[in-house]
Symmetry: C2
Subunit: 343 residues, 2 copies
Amino acid sequence: MKGKATSFDIAHLAGVSQSTVSRALRNSPLVNQETRDKVQSIAKQLNYKVDKNASSLRQKSSKTLALLLFEDPTSDDSMINPFFLSMLGSITRASAQEGYDLLVSFQQLSDDWHADYEDTNKADGIILLGYGDYMDYQDKLAKLEQQQTHFVLWGAVDKEHPGISIACDNFQGGYKITQHLIQKGRKHFAFIGGADSHCPEFFERYRGMCHALSQAGASALPIQIDAITTEESGYQAAMQLLSTGQKMDAIVCASDLIAIGVMRALHDKQLAIPQQIAVVGYDNILAASFTNPPLTTVHQNTRLAGEMLVKSLVSLIKGERQQPKLLPAELVIRQSCGAELKR
Amino acid sequence: MKGKATSFDIAHLAGVSQSTVSRALRNSPLVNQETRDKVQSIAKQLNYKVDKNASSLRQKSSKTLALLLFEDPTSDDSMINPFFLSMLGSITRASAQEGYDLLVSFQQLSDDWHADYEDTNKADGIILLGYGDYMDYQDKLAKLEQQQTHFVLWGAVDKEHPGISIACDNFQGGYKITQHLIQKGRKHFAFIGGADSHCPEFFERYRGMCHALSQAGASALPIQIDAITTEESGYQAAMQLLSTGQKMDAIVCASDLIAIGVMRALHDKQLAIPQQIAVVGYDNILAASFTNPPLTTVHQNTRLAGEMLVKSLVSLIKGERQQPKLLPAELVIRQSCGAELKR
DNA sequence: CTGAAAGCGCTTACAG
DNA sequence: CTGAAAGCGCTTACAG
């Protein structure tokens, strides 16, 4: 036998028609048990595998999902946020569980989004993941929607924007962690991370924080300084913040990576964490439990998130209607939010 | 126009044959510049995209690579080793750069390896990644080889086993880090991690260590305790090690995750790192720079590794012969290997 | 430079 | 329960 076996080869050997082979291999109840067994055993012997290209072409479905991770335009290619890597892991697992293959690709926002996976019939649907400037890609989402692409989005749940999104409750996360700091006696807050609609996830965290603050009777809004999700950006932002000379005893960061940068800045300036300034993060990446002091943060259940994302997308592909979903945020208390203030 | 546009629709609109459309879209020099432009502009208008299933079926090449990450059988599904996640990132990037899509999947070793990606023509080649018991999958590799699957393997470069492998020089890494510890005055060594042919990567690191030791005139072999690559496993192994009561002042760990567990054990036992016992790891994951004290480790250049893996595989697919490749290991000195011994 | 035709390897109505 | 046939949407020899 030269080259790979095809269903015709099997048909020939089994003495049946090729259509019957196809049916038998797909376990069609239409075909006689005996014939089916015979065909299947020959297929196994020949190490036959159905050609997915042919099958997908014919069925107009590839049983494949595509994961698009878009990255902060400014982040160097050195490192991807560990949080997304962890999401990637859980999405991979969830896809396999649902019987779908997973295509993975990173997108620089600058690219001419070649999210062609569905247009080219390589994937049946797309999962979109990543922080980044929401305004920049909003019209790309609209375009996807208009082309009737099946897709789900990780991030901010928002009725306004196109597509189904799954997200952790960022407002709740920001609220909870701030409330905790207030209980610990903190009074003067700063927030580091983009707090506007360009960054809806960060913005929600910020709004949650403000809510907790106003509930506690704080008069002033917290100081806020922009930063993207990198350690360096967090470091720079903290330096800028400190140079203002404003009084503060707690810094809420939009992500753990930012928080790690902030802690480095505070160490450089010889400010004690948490005695002088408490620092908290968001995401609960592995490194957060090893910082000095260990970082208090908000955990997002990536396993569950990946599952929801995949399941929703699969439902969408099957033509079912889907609702956006909001997952709870969990506070992880470690030492960086710390001790009571010494007055 | 109902449904997606096909090359026939374009042919119709452009007033040429479908074959010409196909040629024009692939920029064939055979077709008249004018015709080509016309076809391409119509295609753009219709938002036409070639169907990859049809095209792959016809060309017998999918321009897709598959990445198979196999995991430690015992590791819970909670976490993938950050080192592999980082490899995954660089492989994704490298694939895109080479013009290939990337299919990602995790394999439990227990599974009936459905590495069917190439058999089903869904991928042109496979990248294999992961620690794990080498003996367990050796025959699977042999089978891949026998089926003439194109694949590259990350891990131990070894003439014996089937397939092309790319690896960091684990022997060199183990050698360098041990040598460094010897210079710092350490005398009594232990190694934590599987040191036998089931785990060729760890074994090489171990052998590098032994070489440095014997070169320095150490008489005895280091104590060695098995552990898989998880924090918990490292913790357990260290506890076991400490319970032996053996004299030691340096623990060399086969991975950072193991080292992190070992450090936790030493803290629990109130042993000062590095004053009483130095600890070093391997992989240079992000968390390693935040441990207390920061972990001395060996860095593997994942960006380069991903590139080599992808490039070698692509060459293999093109029918070129390939050689295994060995990348250098880089020592990353932090504080856990530490201060001079106080005597 | 262009077109008509064959064929990649399947799945699935249609007819029996 | 089975077979002959059509067709998924391309690419590429072949002929002109």
